[in-house]
């Protein structure tokens, strides 16, 4: 294992502040653009909105200066920009549907953004060292599994459009698998740090292909069964794919053995094929993937594709296209909405923002000094990458459409909350990774008490 570090450790908080102001400025320009294009004047509340958003994000920036001064400087600006652009698009779709700011989805999303940013800041204050999370390895595993299977419970589980992935308490609904994802990544990271030697070294070769021992296969079989249970009982291919993909990727990173990827892919393909044979719901998705214009079926993908075609290279401009014609234009199909209004050029920029976000996550993993931090950051970064791939792949017909949220952009509180928590954890790991080493080792190494041998 090797560690990559920057020669001169700098906090770079100033850079972060500049980028943050830049990001907020872009969001405000986008907001102004929507107002001018639809109502022909600047939105009346641009000043209070701008000030509120700025205060919130700058407060987070100050928390970083206080608690994680060496954290990565670009994570926060990218997350802010993506979240802000998502808000603008949701607001723009509200306007197209005839809702004012008060009654649409945008104001809920705004409240969730504020809540998520506050939660992320509190997490950064509470968790001073990510390694403390290792104390609760199996608590996280249990919590993750319970949250994942919670929607199956009779009273609080909700079935929305064939997928049973929601829980509702009173008028309040939540998608627990989003939080479960983070807990499971923490568990995998902690578990794999302990067991990776057994997983990577022990085993025999079959047909020149290194296979681990049967007992080491136990956890991957459990993960496979759990993700299959999600697929079968909650009919949610996206979440299933996400969980299993994260597990296989983290196993590969921990053990450096390609056989895990092959085993994982074979298991997943087998599971998907069985599901395809069993569920009509799933067959419909595959049919629409191969032929989106199939008569008599949902035209959602087709509408998204036509919207993006309408956008062309430079887009129609915010507020000037018709993304509202697609169903779920502000959640699952927010990417085609952006594709239509910002065009290929804008959509590429958004995808690049995700790429940079993931790159910073993996980079934090590369620079982390402890195995747990490495696996944690890699797992979190990879989970964003896989989720973006599944969502964008789904709406652009690379893979069958599955219902996953676009990180930071889709309307939906649970997803937003989970993604800000991911950002908080990545900031924490990167802060540990980029701190100068002298503070950590040096005087503390070897100064703790010698253990005394008891002779009696």
């Amino acid at each position: 294992m090797s560690t990559v570090s920057t020669v001169t450790p700098r906090t770079r908080r100033g850079t972060e502040l500049v980028l943050l102001i830049f990001a907020i400025a872009i969001v405000l320009v986008a907001y102004a653009n929507v107002g001018i294009a639809i109502k022909n004047r600047l939105p009346a509340d641009i000043v209070p909105m701008g000030v509120g958003f700025t205060v919130l994000v700058l407060a987070f920036h100050l928390v970083l200066r206080w608690r994680a001064p060496y954290a990565d400087p670009v994570l926060l600006p990218i997350a802010t920009l993506l979240n802000g652009l998502g808000l603008v698009m949701i607001h723009r779709l509200d306007l197209a549907n005839g809702d004012t700011l008060g009654q649409g989805a945008a104001v809920r999303q705004l409240m969730w953004s504020a809540l998520s940013i506050v939660v992320a800041a509190v997490l950064l204050i509470v968790i001073k060292d990510h390694r403390r999370l290792r104390r609760y390895t199996f608590t996280f595993a249990l919590g993750g599994l319970v949250l994942l299977l919670l929607p199956l419970l009779p009273f609080i589980g909700r079935s929305v459009l064939g997928s049973r992935i929601w829980i509702g308490i009173g008028g309040f609904s939540f998608q627990p698998s989003e939080i479960s994802k983070i807990l499971v990544v923490i568990f995998f990271a902690s578990y794999l740090v302990q067991t990776r030697d057994a997983l990577s070294l022990v085993g025999r070769r079959i047909l020149g292909f290194p296979l681990p021992r049967a007992r080491d296969m136990g956890p991957i079989m459990i993960a496979w069964l759990a993700s299959l249970a999600v697929l079968v009982f909650e009919s949610d291919l996206g979440t299933s794919l996400l969980f299993f993909g994260i597990f296989v990727a983290m196993l590969y990173v921990a053990t450096e053995r390609r056989s895990w990827i092959a085993i994982g892919l074979i298991l997943f393909l087998a599971g998907s094929y069985i599901a395809y044979l069993l569920f009509a719901h799933f067959q419909e998705r595959v049919t629409l993937w191969i032929n989106p214009f199939h008569p008599g079926m949902s035209d959602q993908i087709a509408l998204g594709l036509m919207g993006m075609a309408n956008g062309g290279l430079f887009g129609t401009g915010l507020g000037q296209g018709h993304p509202e014609l697609t169903y779920f234009a502000n959640s699952d199909f927010i990417i085609p909405s952006f594709g239509e209004e910002l065009g290929l050029v804008g959509l590429t920029a958004i995808i690049l923002l995700y790429v940079l976000l993931v790159e910073r996550g993996l980079r934090a993993g590369l620079a982390a000094r402890d195995g747990f931090g490495k696996l944690l950051a890699t797992g979190l970064g990879f989970s964003i990458a896989l989720q973006v791939f599944v969502v964008i792949g789904g709406v652009t017909r690379v893979i069958p459409l599955t219902g996953l949220t676009t990180p930071f952009m889709s309307a939906g509180g649970s997803s937003l909350l989970a993604n800000w928590v991911i950002i908080a954890l990545l900031l924490r790991v990167s802060d540990q990774a980029r701190q100068p080493t002298i503070e950590q080792s040096g005087p503390t190494l070897g100064t703790d008490d010698t253990q005394v041998v008891k002779t009696r």
Partner: protein
Amino acid sequence: MSELTITAIRLGLLVLLWAFIFSIVGVLRGDIYGSRVVTRSRDGRSTRTEAPKRPPRAVRKGPTHLAVVDGSMRGITVPLAESGVLIGRNPECTLVLSDDFASGRHARVYRDGDGWFVDDLGSTNGTFVGNQRVGEHLPLTEGAHIRIGRTVLEVRK
């Protein structure tokens, strides 16, 4: 407002988005230029051993190495340098032990005249050669086992 203003804002937004991306990429240049890669040894700890100086001919008749034969650092050898070998958990030691039962400065192996000797430096759990607890100036023969905490060192030629 006029069509022109809207077009200008719409294209301006795209330009701003890309400017943002390029400024981030500019910040990240530091990753590529000016980083260093430290490859760690297998147990994740960088064990620094002094550059093996060629000992003078006279000394090479006696024992030349200390080898760790038991304990978590088994397999590591340290040359017996003319200046002596300091063993313990402190990073300043010649042989840094990762052994909870060793003291910070545990023992010293040094040369006196023709032979090699070992001193216990007031360690908590003591130093043993065979079954004998080491005080000061205990002579070492080739093949002797020095036990420090859970670590056993062998004097080798």
